[in-house]
Amino acid sequence: MSRPVYLVDGARTPFLKARGKPGPFTPVDLAVQAGRPLLMRQPFPATAFDLVILGCVNVIQDEMNPARVAALRLGMGEQQVAFTVQINCGSGMQSIDTAFRYIRDGSHEMILAGGTEALSHAPLVYSRDATEWFGRMAQAKGPLDKAKAIAEIRPDFFSPIIGLERGLTDPITSLNMGQTAEVLAHRFNIDRVTADTYAVESHKRLAAAQAEGRLTGEVLPVFDRDGEAHEHDDGLRPDSSVGTLAKLDPAFEKPYGKVTPGNSSQITDGASWVILASETAVEAHGLDPIARIVDSQWAALDPGIMGLGPVLASTPLAQRHGLTCEDIDLWEINEAFAAQVLACLAAWKDDGFCREVLGYDSAFGRIDRGRLNIDGGAISLGHPVGTSGNRIVLHLANALKQRGATRGIATECIGGGQGGAMLLEAA
């Protein structure tokens, strides 16, 4: 049995930059903030789902199995089965993929699939506090100021840094994620200016998408307990330029590295949900699908070059469906690092690579910037790791519809040396 699977709606929170302290929302809080209005705007009750699947990498102690906690807090009923999935940066797409397969195979009719992440709640953020403290300490003039700075020291400045480094360090190769991007930049000859130029464009595109209303209905405002309304992705720097980015020091391999905070994805909090439905459910509830999920693919490779994951995961999709580079109208490639996205593009353009690794006779083709991450990406809007895979599928669906395009692929690299990809067609 192989049934069509539709993406009928979806919504996410704005992505909120981690600002050196735990943000206002836990992972489940974020999932609830995005889920409440999404469920309310449906013509069916919140209890109508067969299953809830939520991707989340950094689950906090108070919210074990965040999928189930979120389902209950969203009023989806005590009988709502819900589980959480984790495949690092692919978690938010894994939830969609699992839902897609269940519906396709006929065991489920309607599934709520999401991703959520509150990186500011992970211990890693304290490193910023610690850095700031070191800064104050260095600037302190005279014994009085020094004593004042010393008084501000907290023991938790130090132990969490280990948590951060471990989380972003590959346990097999001991390379930091940023270092894997440095490896790719080196292998594919991506220079600093090209990476920075890519990053600037990401910000410009997100700014345009916000201004022109292309995220309306997809990004819903959230409200915290201090009364602040968060309406937009707040890591956006529309005034970002190659000149300003050039001033930043390398973040991972000082002093000669090319990967900087400016051309890397931002550490953020955010959640995203999509609703997947069978034809039966679409008819029963009178739904209006945005897109159809056609196929999906996962792939794995050496963890030290995890950034090429999108190439290895997307290509089999194209091959299986007989699609050329030109047949794919829109691409969402998660922007973990500018150098990493650019390395993927370079690989697809490279005759040798495509012949030896992907089994083509010559290069797959050139994915021009006009089809790629057209409304910005993780460099401008952030990368809540468990959420991003969900976001790119949701946004791809909306972008296909907005542009009247036919077909697109959403894909991401996954820390640990994997890649995930999903092929969508406009409904």
Binding site: P37, M40, P221, R225, G227, A229
Partner: protein, 685 residues
Amino acid sequence: MTDVLDEITPDESTKAPKAPGALNWRREEQNGTLTLWLDCADTGTNVISEAVLRELDTLLDDGKQARPDVLVIRSAKPGGFGAGADIDGFENLRGKDAKAMLHQGHAVLDKLAALPFPTVAVVHGTTLGGAFELALACDHRIGVDGVKLGFPEIQLGLHPGLGGTVRLTNLIDPVEAMQLMLTGRSAYDRRAKSLGIIDALVPERHVAAAIAAAASGKMDHDGSLRASALRTRAARSLAATRMRSESEKKAPRRHFPAPFALIDLWEDHGGDADDMQTAEIESFTTLLDSTTAQNLIRVFFLRQRLKAAGKREDGISHVHVIGAGAMGGEIAAWAAMQGKRVTIEDVDLTPLGKTIRRATRIYERKHLSGIKSRDALDRLIPDPDRLGRARADLIIEAGPEKTAVKEAIYAELTNTMKPDAILATNTSSLSLAALVDAAPDPARFAGLHFFNPVSSMPLVEVVSHDLASQDTLDRLAAFTTGIDRLPARVTDGPGFLVNRVLAPYMMEAILMLDEGHDKVAIDRAALAFGMPMGPVTLADQVGLDICLEVGRSLRKGLDTPVAETPDWLREKVENGETGKKAGKGLYDYDSEDPPKEPADDPDHQVIDRLILPMCNAAVEVLRKGVAPDADTIDAAMIFGTGWAPFRGGPLQYAKVRRDVPDVLRRLAEKHGPRFEPDPGWNDLG
């Protein structure tokens, strides 16, 4: 299909038969455990009445013969152990009769306390007043999770009278015991355990095991060291002095004598239980005879009456609030806290954010647990896309007080609302008659007028108009009760009930300012009468712009003369000095604090000028049928404005005082026809 949890949850209610000859007790004897189940006849809530105690007396005699291993007292009512003494019986109880009854009651509880085998009270849910005193007379108290114990007597102008003052101060740290009794606050489960009020706190499934532990002497009570330290009078005096000054800060002795009587009682007799017991009875009967207690007991009944006016299912689970101003936000936050699903819309996101902050603060103030507060906030949904309009069972419009704005909102709702949904307006200054034509369905349109701040003002006026259906009004009253507020059913007149009666208080004060009276003196005189806030402060609080508007609408809508507003007030408002919200009004909030201390020796003529016009307006409201009866008016003023509760409300005050129409006539001669007694005084008799 049956819900799993329902299927496996046993029916915990007792099947024990009523004890022979008893109406209010069930008796059960099993394996050496004699259980007496309190199950008051014909009511869902246990109260400790004279009959309950009389029957218990017989049961105790009989139990003494039976010589069980342990005697257990518990309640057969699911809601709790008991609500307190039978207050119905208090109303007509005075002097000697009261004393005789109390002595009998004490004798029964003393008998219980003296039984030669272990006695255990198993307390669950609400355990207040007399019921708490019954539990205190047992050797052990086992609390079931969620139990709430307390002595609310102080709110009735009384203190515990069945030995509670003696037993609680001897059981736990006496200072903590006094605090509980002086504030009337309850101790919830874990707090009750840590105070030592209950010896164990267990879920229902462990009650039998806990009783067995108590029966075999394996349950200890942690005695309080402080109890012995405070055995000397000198030590108690020191603590008592502090308690007196704390109490005086909250309510002056001359209006609220009960706290001071309680402090005296403990200071003078806290060292000797027998002495204190005798003194407790004396003190209690003295208080019971006081006007304060009688009025506060009446207020208790008024509350019950208002509650009863909203009894039925409201059929409202989702409320949508339009307008996230201070009022809309408070209403939304409160309804969500009370279990409703709430959406709230506004044209801007900023006020929606403020609503969440407001709600968070209310939940903190109301001591919601982390989980309860989270759940309430999950139910409170900011709704910039107005999705709630089509989904709500009740829409509360709290938009700007402009007819055109409201009409525009109603027009949008016409084809959006659910078929059975009710539209209620929170307007305070527009008449429903002026709005009803724009309402999607006049039969399902009415007023629901909340008071600010909703979280501390229990009253809600349910405002009818000619075309409103009875079902709509009943559902709104039920909704009000369902969110733990008190509905007063009123009709559509200028200012409805509360604002109509309250307006002269502020308007007269403003005229007095015009005549050169000192604002602080005016406010302090009103405080001395027992008002929660002086009229000048109140006008600033309400907003001088609103005051002007209220004055205008009353002048337009009433056929009786209304106080004029001086030109300088209008100028003040035009200059933006609109009161507290602007930082400047009648007071300058940068440099002045409105007085909080009542005048020691207030000018009674000033008080009459401020208070009697309210009595007069209350009579007018009654004559016009804005409220169904005098009790509703008194209750509405107390629960909507905090009107001196120990005075019993404006009509009760006038009734007790008797000379109000005469004084009004004299005031009319001196100050103008606005004081002329309303024709309705003649019908009051």
